[in-house]
Symmetry: C2
């Protein structure tokens, strides 16, 4: 997967050419994602990342200051990819017959496609220093916020009955986490359910709250 660079920010570098920074960091992130997925952050060495990215270990350290910086860039790239896929998908659900079901379906399919990446974030977010960890958690919150918007808009259009604000917000968290659940319990769930069956049953659970 080749990641967008839009979120590459805040990490200092000695390199002057901004386009080059973007390109090299994308190389680094793409290489690191693969390695982290295979063996995790701690068991991947900076030398391996440099080699996989096709640059020397010395050059790697011109683009980042610490190994944790690489993990941060990886987490940002994953969230950027999810956020982009989601906003794009959600825009197309506006005039579906059942917009909420369709939004849930699109989201769960993104979670299915990016299962390994989602698990990676759960797994490694604690390896980040706290300021970077905070930013990653904000990204996560932004994704939940997308569902809060969907629910609020549908409620405003009378497409859904009114729920208390706190209840609606928790419903959005639930959608978000039930998508992740497919990622981190896939080892078990995929023995009993296809992703389509999973989506169907979970959608039933989520919508039942709105049906009385």
């Amino acid at each position: 997967m080749a990641f967008e660079s839009s979120k590459i920010r805040d990490i200092p570098t000695q390199i002057k050419d901004k386009k080059l920074v973007t390109r090299r960091r994308r190389q680094i992130v793409d290489a690191a994602v693969e390695l982290f997925l295979q063996k995790g952050f701690h068991k991947t060495t900076t030398r391996q990342i440099a080699r996989a990215a096709g640059i020397s270990i010395g050059l790697l350290y011109e683009y980042i200051a610490t190994k944790e910086d690489i993990l941060f860039l990886v987490c940002e790239a994953i969230h950027a990819e999810m956020h982009a896929a989601l906003t794009q998908a959600l825009n197309r659900t506006v005039d579906a017959a059942h917009p909420l079901s369709e939004a849930i379906r699109k989201y769960f399919l993104v979670c299915h496609r990016m299962s390994d990446h989602i698990v990676l974030i759960y797994q490694e977010i604690h390896s980040l220093p706290s300021n970077q960890r905070k930013k990653v958690l904000e990204n996560e919150e932004n994704i939940t916020a997308l569902f809060i918007d969907v629910l609020e808009n549908l409620t405003a259009q009378n497409a859904l009955p009114v729920l208390e604000e706190n209840v609606l917000k928790l419903a959005a968290h639930n959608i978000s986490v039930l998508g992740h659940m497919w990622a981190f319990r896939r080892w078990r769930l995929s023995a009993s359910y296809t992703i389509d069956e999973y989506i169907e049953i979970q959608t039933g659970f989520i919508l039942s709250r709105y049906k009385h």
Copy 2:
């Protein structure tokens, strides 16, 4: 928290005295849990664990063969503790007015109390070699199985309407994961909800599937 030793199994040792093995491993696990919670598995050294357990590094390696063995013992201890707390709590819900609500409440309170430990397992399970990881996942599955039992029993007693088997099983997974959700999103959720509010709203979601 002092952990039960019942699940200390399968890890070879040169030490002959079985009671001593149990006692020393409990010391080791108790020390390791604290350190892993503070700084994670990879940033904790075996020397630190030995020192915190009050034994020498050499002796530590008489009771385990690798650092991962310690993590495995820690995961087993956490699941043993959760399993024990839960079966005990569930036994007492049998004659409650709303047994399912009461089971959910008890479970969520266990998740609340053991938040950090639950997150630790999500975080570090990938650091285990695959045979040990499998055993930890089995433990996790056993906890979900407790809820499958609860739902099946209540259905058999006509206290709940009949659901398709696959739907019922996924409901059990959902209960399990929504408890974990309080653990791994507490940083955000606890700003908006007390644990009691959380339990109340989530119980509403879970039960609504049964109310039509």
